[in-house]
Symmetry: C2
Subunit: 415 residues, 2 copies
């Protein structure tokens, strides 16, 4: 019988072997006393199994404060635990309750992070995955030979539909591929969702009629279910190609239901992610997280960026991008969205470390605040990526590309 | 204009006043440069406002490792920040993205926890809240003068529908008020959901026909949306009164959609909670969390229990129960579910500290492992609560109640 395997990074005051058995037992039928009529065979069928233990180190203080006994030592390890798919079938919420669930509350662990999940082949028959992914996002934006270049409507909130449309006009004229709402903005008092879609799509459609290029706008549909579906239909009705959802705020079942429409590209925003990930020994790591959303059918997912303005290290960002690049069940491609404090200057390092242009590369000030205006800003970003792919250093790229050179002059000191 | 106010507990290497302004700015229109046409008035309309700052202490090491500069100090404070409801209206997912969202990722904070949320009166017009809550759960179980007594089907997973029904038979005969599936169990290879509902409800309905008392069974419907609705309808069709949902695994939009049916009592399981709460300076605190689920319409919510087997302190459990007891918008009552390592022995302390019997009190071994069997086990729990309400100590209750005395003999040493 196929099994799902979870990889954990844990810390425990117990012997590691014992802690691993407790983890497996708590999340299956393992530790409970046998009930009358229960055979050993039946118990083994549903018991979680400790597949591997890799001891790492012992420390004097627990990773998460609260449970500390004088003189105790805390042991860290990588664990692999597996479950038969007979336990939860292809039910992702129950799989999550099994692989994570109450584990974070056990006193036997002073730290626990779900690092990765191995999913068996039969999931392919039950989950269609991203309807668009990398190839579909490229086809919709007609960008094939470089990262798609995107930006966020700022200020986050406060602009009217007309002001938004004016900014969209500037951006599409400048040659942008992608625009998105901020996650704070869905329907505000002075910018009702449908009005904003109508105003923005009028500009985008006019531009597409003229040039053949339809810029992708990720309108933030996050809401309750019926309203999300109405918002989704509004985007469709106005010829839009993309909807954004705040994955953690809406939750798995809601996101899945919207993805199942399979008519719009779904831009997955991971705001709230820091709560699930910022502590090194609590929560879930991105390689596990992104697999769940690929099964759900999200097409694009945020991964932060090199030299970002948040707490995340470059190593962690690179690991996230690489996890998106790895095929899941032979495919299920998802487009990594690189954002947070990005301008062209991070392109060479991003490419050097990931060797891919299958990215949606988001920049804010780098476009609108370019000394020669938005068009030059977009040009500078395209140049930065051309230089990156050609292996040029920033200094070499500055020699070759005048717009990029002006970017470096203006934004280079921040990096 | 009405405002939503969030209470945070934060830690920052910056001056607290400055950190508070950054928080407010990041999550609204505050820090961004003005765009052409944007008036100061418009900006103020959507800007988050720092309402209050209470300085707490300064420490030498950051609460969350990762960002640490030699010689830096880290300041802790309580902050109150407010937003106009014009920013997000009555859209809970976008409200969550605004009040939590990217905040956890800011380098300016080495710790951030959302402690509580103040919600203005107008939310009453947009959210119906729990369809059953405390009074509805009591009416369905016909228990009015004490906590409802419940138990969980164990082992968590592995029993067939017939085995489950046999155990249900033992439990309903013993006089139990409430039974629930484990969160690991929804539909397993040897216990398909509909078969289990059919088998368990046959026993429960027979018992109800005979005695007039219909025991509430919380079947775990957690799944994708359509399947959850099918499961919900299956419970209804078999005369069931309750459905359980793993709140964090399913997510807000999915849970809300199911609650909106308003025909079954919704038992909210909070597994995964430790990830959101276990660190003292990361995530969300229960008083904030339970308000969101009350708005969504969850009727019963887990709060852990006194002397529980998890990491949570008694003080934290009491705070959680009290937060459920406080009216929200003048009502929106939710039933706290006390569980984890409970038997009658914790009843006196639970009552002493909360002064309420509006509880669903869950016990496992305390019932089935009672020396005189399950009936005596349920009786012992009812006695424990009678003693608790009458202000008896455990020693006094042992004198008066023989079944409870046997409980104390068997389980008392564990406490």
């Amino acid at each position: 019988m196929e099994r799902v395997t979870a990889h954990y990074y844990i810390e425990t005051p117990l012997e590691i072997e014992k802690a691993a058995q407790i983890l497996a037992g708590e999340q299956s039928s393992g530790t409970f006393v046998a009930v009358p009529g229960e055979t050993e065979e039946l118990k083994n069928r549903f018991a979680a199994r400790v597949e591997n233990i890799q001891y790492l180190e012992t420390v004097d203080e627990p990773a998460i404060p609260g449970i500390m006994t004088a003189g105790k030592k805390y042991h860290r390890a990588n664990l692999e635990i597996s479950w038969s798919i007979e336990n939860f079938g292809y039910n992702l919420p129950v799989m999550i309750s099994t692989l994570q669930g109450n584990l974070y509350e056990l006193t036997q662990f002073t730290g626990l992070k779900l690092m990765d999940i191995e999913i068996p082949d039969s999931f392919r028959q039950h989950f269609e995955g991203p309807a668009f992914g990398v190839a579909g996002s490229r086809a919709l934006t007609r960008v094939y030979d470089r990262p798609m270049i995107g930006t966020i409507i700022k200020p986050s909130i406060g602009m009217s539909p007309e002001q938004t449309a004016d900014l969209v006009k500037t951006l599409v004229t400048a040659g942008i591929d992608f625009i998105k709402d901020d996650e704070l903005m869905s329907s505000s008092a002075n910018s009702p969702f449908a009005k904003r879609v109508e105003a923005a799509m009028r500009v985008i459609n006019e531009h597409a009629d003229k040039t053949g290029k339809k810029v992708m706008y990720a309108f933030n549909i996050s809401n309750e279910l019926d309203e999300m579906q109405r918002n989704y239909d509004t985007i469709l009705a106005h010829g839009g190609t993309c909807a954004m959802i705040s994955l953690n705020s809406v939750g798995l079942a809601g996101v899945k239901k919207l993805c199942d429409n399979r008519q719009l590209c779904i831009h997955g925003h991971r705001n709230g992610w820091g709560m699930l990930n910022r502590h090194p020994l609590l929560g879930i790591e991105f390689p596990a997280y992104q697999k769940l959303w690929r099964l759900v059918g999200v097409d694009q997912i945020h991964v932060n960026g090199i030299q970002n303005k948040f707490w995340e290290s470059d190593d962690s960002v690179v690991k996230s991008i690489k996890s998106c690049q790895k095929p899941l069940l032979g495919g299920y491609n998802i487009l990594p969205v690189v954002s947070s404090g990005q301008w062209g200057g991070q392109a060479p390092e991003t490419y050097r470390r990931t060797q891919t242009t299958d990215l949606l590369y988001m920049a804010g000030g780098g476009i609108l605040a370019h000394p020669q205006g938005a068009s030059a800003g977009v040009t500078a970003l395209k140049q930065a990526w051309e230089a990156a792919v050609n292996g040029l250093s920033i200094a070499e790229a500055v020699q070759q590309y005048p717009e990029f050179a002006l970017s470096v002059e203006k934004f280079g000191k921040k990096a």
